[in-house]
Amino acid sequence: MKNNTAKFAIAAAVLSAALALSACGGQSTDAGDEGSALTGTIASDGSSTVGPLTEAAATEFASVEPGVQVTVATSGTGGGFKTFCAGETDISNASRPIKDEEATTCADAGIEFTEIVIANDGLSVVVNPENDWAQCLTVEQLNTIWAPESEGVITNWNQVDPSFPDVELTLYGAGTDSGTFDYFTDVINGEEGASRTDYSPSEDDNVTIQGVSGELGAMGYFGLSYLEENADLIKGVEVDGGEGCVFPSVETVQDGTYTPLGRPLFIYVNNASYAENEAVKAFVDYYVENAVSVAESALFVPLTDDQIVTAQEELASLVG
């Protein structure tokens, strides 16, 4: 009996010690930086396109203010707005502007927010690297592939264009909570949310990459940063918006030639959080001031000079 009691005492002691040690030893108490002992938590949620950008900003911010805890979730632009308008997050990442209904929901809940354009994006269409026939697709062809009427009908590449080979068409794309989904369907199919449903939807664009890289006849769409990050696994397609075939890149997005799939990316900041939470203020300031460098390091399309000015104005309006 004494053995067991002693054993349990030891086990309990070890467990408590482990917890205590992990709690203490965990905080990076580098005495290096004097003064900036800012602490606090920041919750952000939303687009899986913008998420990595906010993650990159949070990573860089951590070297300036290590005491601040930033969490970035990716429930999709729509999902992010739902939690934002419920007051659960301080920052909402979005790859499309907030809808009227969503803005109303926020207003009803008493949430005031500020919209800041934080980067640009070229919504990219991607195919398998072995796909040598789809070099350039017109908007009409994309519409043929993705329209609601094509569900169950368009299942082969040669139905899109007779010159394409007889290869089965497998589709991956964004889920319905995704701003990418809303934007793509709006621009390509003419109506936001109008899409065929027989594809593999996911709020996680990484799943799309996995899917497209593994199948010859696969196709998907997501933000440019994912294409640039994984250029060895998937192949981007030139899009012809009426002015010729254009490949998505920083230049073509910034000068507007990559149409109609060029788009701005947003963060929405909760005004009350900004005013009351010092950590939020510090992070948002840092984010906006370093928007260009963060975007470049994260392989996003940075703001144009005009957009930088606008962003600074938005930031200033937050304080006021």
């Binding site: 729509g78 939690t83 449903t197 027989d198 593999s200 709020e203 799943v207 996995q210």
Partner: protein, 313 residues
């Protein structure tokens, strides 16, 4: 002569000293224990209520027959459909493939461990087999999508399959279930009294015949219980199918196809966000309710079968 006389009782006996003292602390503690046991009922009731309330809201909008028999699953789109048949076919395929793998391997291992192995070999082999059960399912999922699907199925075997398939997921799930089936079957076979084996040997049967014709039928109820438990685990498994079976909800017609299972849908719906009270939230719980009912039926079937086939020794 020495005589023994009983010890003298004390001079005064009061009734009170013979009555047990009231112990309020005892009663309180035993009440606490009782509450703890009742807590398990509260959990079950909680599960049922938690699943039922959103599901009732769901069925107020979507007719039950459309849910159960509809063949198009597109709950979050503008042109929504709520037919759960595609999810059920994917679950059926992964479960079936898992059973095809797990039942022969599990029963074979169980027979070997119970009837043929030395005691020492058994002492080593059984814990090693249990290790398979201890590996987290997410690690199995990683293995399924990275190695089985990408390397084995596509590279080595050159099969015509994409990045995800029910075969990869089902195969790995089968291996995960092997210890469950093997362990319970082996216990059932070991519990068969030796006298039956001895009788069979006395009649001239060799070990294989004894095993197949005497031991196995005697342990049948335990074996069936093991297989049914394996089915239950396969149906409820989430991580392996979320990683390896795919996200597209479609009617699965072959093992090399990808498909979204019921649990896969729950996992992917959980990653998006649905506010409490919305139709998407309710859809999640409706599928959860279906999953719960299916596993409940399987479990009750297992108990009933065991009771029916059990041989009492």
């Amino acid at each position: 002569m020495s005589t023994w006389s009983p010890p003298r009782p004390p001079a005064v006996i009061s009734q009170d000293s013979l009555r047990a003292r009231p112990r309020p602390l005892d009663t309180a503690i035993r009440l606490l224990f009782r509450v703890a046991a009742i807590f398990t009922i509260i959990i079950t009731v909680g599960i049922v209520i938690a699943l039922l309330i959103p599901s009732l809201a769901f069925f107020a909008e979507v007719p039950v027959w459309e849910f159960l028999f509809g063949t198009r699953w597109a709950p979050r789109f503008a042109d929504a459909s709520f037919g759960v048949v595609p999810l059920v076919t994917a679950t059926a395929w992964t479960t079936a493939i898992a059973l095809v793998v797990a039942v022969p391997l599990g029963l074979g291992a169980a027979v070997f461990l119970s009837e043929y192995a030395h005691r020492r070999a058994r002492k080593i082999l059984k814990p090693v087999l249990e290790l398979l059960a201890g590996i987290p399912t997410v690690v199995y999922g990683y293995f399924a999508v990275q190695f089985i699907q990408a390397t084995v199925l596509r590279e080595w075997l050159g099969l015509d399959t994409g990045s995800f398939s029910v075969l990869a997921a089902g195969f790995v799930m089968g291996i995960m279930i092997v210890p469950t089936i093997a362990s319970i079957s082996e216990d059932a076979m070991s519990a068969v009294p030796n006298s039956l084996r001895q009788g069979s040997a006395a009649l001239g049967a060799n070990r294989m015949q004894t095993t197949v014709r005497v031991v196995f039928p005697a342990a049948l109820s335990g074996v069936i219980a093991a297989i049914v438990l394996g089915v239950s685990r396969a149906v409820g498994e989430t991580m392996i199918v979320a990683l390896a079976a795919g996200q597209q909800a479609r009617i699965v017609t072959g093992p090399l196809e990808a498909g979204q299972t019921m649990t896969g849908f729950i996992a992917s719906a959980a990653l998006g966000d649905s506010p409490v009270g919305s139709l998407e939230y309710d859809t999640l719980f409706a599928v959860g309710l279906l999953l719960f009912v299916i596993t409940l039926v399987i479990n009750f079937a297992s108990i009933a079968i065991v009771r029916r086939f059990r041989e009492a020794y």
